[in-house]
């Protein structure tokens, strides 16, 4: 029969179900009447004849059903029947249904949240056209993807592989529409940025390459949609309006479309300005310095037909040219292509490894939930073996019964999936709206999309089929005559064995989760107590950029001194220091350093790459950094005396060869400046990753190398938990007294530190949540198993008690197996968990799995779990009343 015809008849049948049913009925009725006519002719009276005809016909309903099937494709009707029947069955045992749905909802919810984060950060491409061939450049073997502006221009103009290369940087500025300036974050973009990405304006026009004519030639602003929406109330009249950024006049050109939120996934700017004009906002912008790499990211679309390797080779040949032409600045200039949006390979690999690990754990949770539900279903099927046997005896086919059991499982899994996804979406919306760092417009763009919904649905269906499949063998083996004869207590030995395996697997999974969350918590606790080289407690940070208020040249240090002096008059303040970027901040400066005798300042000749700070004389005191030997900076270390530096111990031993007699030694900066080391401070943590290895760091005098964007560190002898509001308002009023037009950002140092601890906190929180979920699943799993085995063996236990068994023996008989399984599963899980935590060490500081406290903790936790889970069944086993039991039977 041709498939089209079959399909048509199936569809027709679906819509003409009543008609067909009527037709079959009429035909069968006609048969009975004809038969009755015959019988009547043989001398029977009509009623008797009809009765006999019906008997002779056989099981009418069954033949009717088989007729339907013979007519082809009544799958849908059967499915509808199954769903109705399953609904009725589940309504009859609401406890079971709710437990199953909640279990699955938790597991599916966890999976969809983790998957959505993975999807939002790694799987979903940037929201621009043709994003599959959009790549950004990274220098080979260098985790940073920054470039210098002249290098960017050379790469852009000389390559043959890209349809244009765009660049952007991240800036902050004081934005002034007439009232007091507000603090904004923006991208400085190359003129071709929007054209290369293929973004179309929502309103007005974008900046184009033709707008640029050298330094400060394009004072234009393109607003992001969200900033336009929130700060200009969707006013279409903003196009063409004059505003001021750091006191410089700019013109608003247009508004970007709502779906375009910049090219760094987790950092959406308030607006965009041309890169050539960003010197007006950030003094460090030098369009000609080839050694000064401040261009944050360079990216573009590959030309059609050009592969990644070809493009990398093309860029590297430009790199070879640059290396030859500018040996001092462009050493080892080979290039690779990386996915845009996450700042190259800087932290993406660690994050991806962690998220993949988390996804695996979440998958394990789901598997554990399936194991749990599988054993619940198996237990249920065993309890329903009588029903199954009866249905078989009454002529139902095994396939039909299995299909109905599967419908039940899928119904539960879909309900669980829907509930889990609903919860997951709430969490994800909250997560997307969450700004973990109040001073940055940073968020985690993890709003669910169609992929997430589809994955959740698939997971739900797969798990439904998985746990629905557990009791299949049991049903297939059911022998109706045996069961009906012997009653429901007929042996079901094999089924229990399958459940045992499932339970061990589940306990092992739980132990893995508990182990990893404990390792993470321990690591976090330790990272809190590690020596940071600073004392964040009871200190305030004030971030200001004097450039935003129009200060220039010598006005900057003078104003900074006035600010320091003003802060020192606040009651309770013991020291005030300045630093260009505080340690453990989201950004940091690195510099190459050279030996004293160096004459060739190529990067490959550098002794080390060190983290570099510019600080004021009181900084070490204010920050709580201990000076080991030598002297501190003084207000006399200014531009009239030779350059001096304070270095950390790691710097002293790595660059100067010795930690003890480094004071008085010299080294050179990349520009050839000779620097004398005058003091040595303790090592600390510097980059935004608290798990970093010891790094060499140098502190230069801010009086010798000025910076306008600085953080004041204000050390107090007050309790910041109590007095921070008061101190902050004192700081604010004194700043206003000095200059009302200077935007500032005030917070406690502890708050600022959240950034550095963000990774390990998130890791710990997510692992903690998964650990708790795993524990809950294990408890319900063990509880179910123990309760089931006690209830099955109640009679046996009663006999034991009657024969004089002690409490201990009764318990051993009732729960020995559960405990054996628990011990076995925990041991397996512990070993696996210790192996898995190696992944954790990337993110969580000192996440060492070989920690006796963790080992003891896991064992204790699992024992506790077992105790909690078996408590009620144990009580029940102990309270067995042999008399009552024996009477009942």
């Amino acid at each position: 029969m041709n498939p089209l015809g079959y399909f048509r008849s199936a569809v027709l049948r679906l819509f003409r179900r009543a008609e067909i049913s009527e037709d079959v009925d009429a035909e069968l009725r006609s048969h009975l009447e004809h038969r009755a006519d015959d019988l009547e002719r043989g001398g029977m009276d009509r009623a008797e004849a009809e009765r006999l005809a019906r008997i002779e016909f056989g099981a009418r309903e069954r033949y009717k059903e088989e007729s339907y099937e013979a007519l082809g494709g009544n799958f849908v009707q059967t499915a509808v029947q199954d769903v109705r029947f399953s609904g009725r069955v589940l309504r009859k045992s609401p406890g079971f249904a709710i437990a199953a749905v909640v279990t699955l909802a938790l597991a599916i919810g966890a999976n969809s949240v983790v998957f959505a984060v993975l999807n939002g950060l790694f799987l979903r491409p940037l929201n621009v056209s043709h994003s599959q061939d959009l790549y950004s450049l990274q220098r080979g073997n260098d985790p940073y993807i920054v470039q210098s502006y002249p290098d960017y221009v050379d790469l852009r103009d000389r390559n043959r592989s890209f349809d244009g290369l765009a660049a952007y940087t991240i800036l902050q500025a004081g934005f002034d529409t007439g009232k007091n300036p507000s603090h904004v974050w923006l991208y400085g973009v190359s003129g071709n940025y929007f054209d290369v990405l293929g973004v179309q304006p929502y309103l007005g026009r974008f900046v184009h390459a033709s707008d640029e004519h050298g330094l400060n030639s394009a004072p234009y602003i393109v607003l992001s949609y969200s900033y336009w929406h929130s700060h200009f109330q969707d006013d279409a009249g903003v196009v063409g309006r004059q505003v001021r950024l750091n006191k410089h006049p700019f013109t608003i050109l247009g508004v970007a479309p709502p779906e375009f939120r910049g090219t760094l996934l987790f950092f959406s700017p308030d607006f965009f300005i041309p890169m050539v004009n960003q010197q007006q906002l950030a003094g460090w912008t030098d369009l000609n310095a080839r050694g000064n790499r401040w261009v944050f990211e360079v990216l573009g679309h590959l030309k059609p037909g050009v592969t990644r390797t070809e493009a990398a080779a093309d860029l590297s040949s430009i790199g070879a040219y640059l290396q030859k032409a500018y040996p001092k600045d462009d050493d080892q200039a080979s290039f690779i292509l990386v996915r845009p949006g996450l700042h190259g390979n800087f932290f993406a690999p660690a994050m991806r490894a962690f998220l993949t690990g988390l996804m695996l754990l979440a998958g394990l949770i789901l598997l554990a939930a399936c194991a749990n539900l599988g054993s619940l279903f198996a237990a249920r099927a065993a309890d329903r073996s009588r029903e199954v046997a009866l249905r078989l005896a009454l002529g139902s086919s095994r396939t039909r019964i299995l299909r109905q059991l599967f419908t039940e499982a899928v119904l539960i899994s879909l309900a669980g999936g829907a509930a889990g996804l609903w919860g997951g979406v709430i969490v994800l919306h909250w997560l997307s709206g969450w700004k973990p760092f109040p001073e940055f417009p940073m968020n985690i763009p993890v709003n669910p999309d169609a992929t997430v919904y589809v994955v959740a649905l698939l997971l739900a269906l797969i798990s439904g089929l998985l746990f629905g499949a557990v009791p299949v063998r049991q049903v297939l083996r059911t022998n109706p005559y045996e069961v009906v004869k012997a009653g429901s207590t007929a042996r079901m030995g094999r089924g229990i064995a399958v459940r045992d395996v499932l339970l061990v697997v589940q306990i092992a999974i739980c132990a893995v989760l508990v182990t990893s969350s404990m390792v993470a918590v321990r690591g976090l606790a330790r990272s809190m107590h590690t020596n940071l080289g600073i004392e964040p407690q009871n200190a305030m940070l004030v971030d200001t950029d004097l450039e935003m208020a129009g200060y220039k040249g010598d006005e900057v240090p003078a104003m900074q001194k006035r600010m320091i002096d003003a802060m020192a008059t606040i009651p309770g303040v013991s020291a005030v220091g300045l630093v260009d970027i505080p340690p453990l901040h989201m950004g940091w400066a690195v510099s190459n350093v050279f030996s004293e005798k160096a004459t060739d300042f190529r990067p490959s000749n550098a002794v080390a790459q060190v983290i570099s700070y510019r600080v004021s004389p009181e900084y070490f005191k204010a920050a709580g950094t201990v000076l080991l030997t030598g002297r501190n900076f003084s207000w006399n270390d200014d531009r009239h005396v030779p350059n001096v530096a304070v270095v950390n111990r790691e710097f002293a031993s790595k660059v100067l060869g010795s930690a003890t007699d480094a004071v008085g030694k010299h080294y050179k900066m990349p520009d050839g400046t000779r620097v004398e080391v005058v003091g040595i401070v303790e090592d600390g943590k510097y980059t935004a990753n608290i798990a970093e290895d010891p790094q060499p760091a140098m502190f230069l005098s801010i009086l010798q190398i000025p910076a306008s964007d600085t953080w004041m560190v204000i050390r107090t002898n007050l309790d910041m938990g109590r007095d921070s509001q008061q101190v902050a308002s004192a700081i604010r009023s004194r700043l206003r007294g000095l200059d009302a037009g200077l935007p500032s950002f005030i917070q406690t140092w502890d708050e600022e530190m959240n950034g550095a601890l963000f990774g390990s906190r998130m890791a710990t929180a997510s692992l903690g949540v998964l650990g708790v979920m795993g524990a809950m699943l294990s408890i319900t799993g063990i509880f179910g198993m123990a309760a089931y085995s006690v209830s099955r063996r109640l009679k046996e236990l009663g006999i034991r008690v009657a024969l004089g068994a002690q409490r201990r023996e009764v318990l051993a008989a009732a729960l020995g197996r559960a405990f054996k399984l628990l011990a076995f599963g925990s041991a397996a899980g512990l070993v696996l968990g210790l192996l898995a935590t190696k992944v954790l060490a990337f993110i969580v500081y000192e996440a060492s799995p070989r920690d006796p406290l963790v080992l003891c903790g896991v064992v204790l936790a699992m024992a506790l779990l077992g105790l909690v889970a078996t408590w009620i069944p144990a009580q029940r086993a102990l309270q067995v009343n042999p008399l009552a039991l024996l009477r009942e039977e």
Partner: protein, 113 residues
């Protein structure tokens, strides 16, 4: 579950085709005709006839239409289609070969081996 159709699979279909090939019949009529042509030697459970009839209709071997029977009652009449006639011939040949082979096999005597 004991089931006559399982005893000799396919025979019921063949019997129905043969019965209908002798002239259009309604369901009960098919049953009577089979009883008649087999000398009442073959017993078919009445209900089992209908799934088989519907299957044959779906395969396009039979076609059905409502009409009035000799008893002056509404009944659905079945008749062979062209593919049905062809199938009947094939099945009949197949059956004859099988029956001949079985007969000769079962009639074998020791000296013939």
């Amino acid at each position: 579950m004991g089931d006559q159709a399982q005893l000799l699979p396919g025979t019921l279909d063949l019997l129905i085709l043969k019965a209908v090939s002798l002239g259009p019949l309604h369901g009960y009529g098919v049953l009577l005709r089979i009883g008649q042509i087999s000398g009442s030697a073959l017993l078919i459970e009445q209900g089992a006839l209908y799934p088989a009839l519907f299957r044959l209709v779906r395969q396009g071997l039979l076609k059905a239409s409502w009409g009035i029977s000799d008893n002056n009652r509404r009944a659905k009449f079945y008749e062979l289609t062209t593919p049905g006639r062809k199938r009947l011939r094939e099945e009949q040949d197949g059956w004859n070969r099988l029956a001949a082979a079985m007969t000769s096999a079962l009639a074998a005597r020791p000296e013939e081996v």
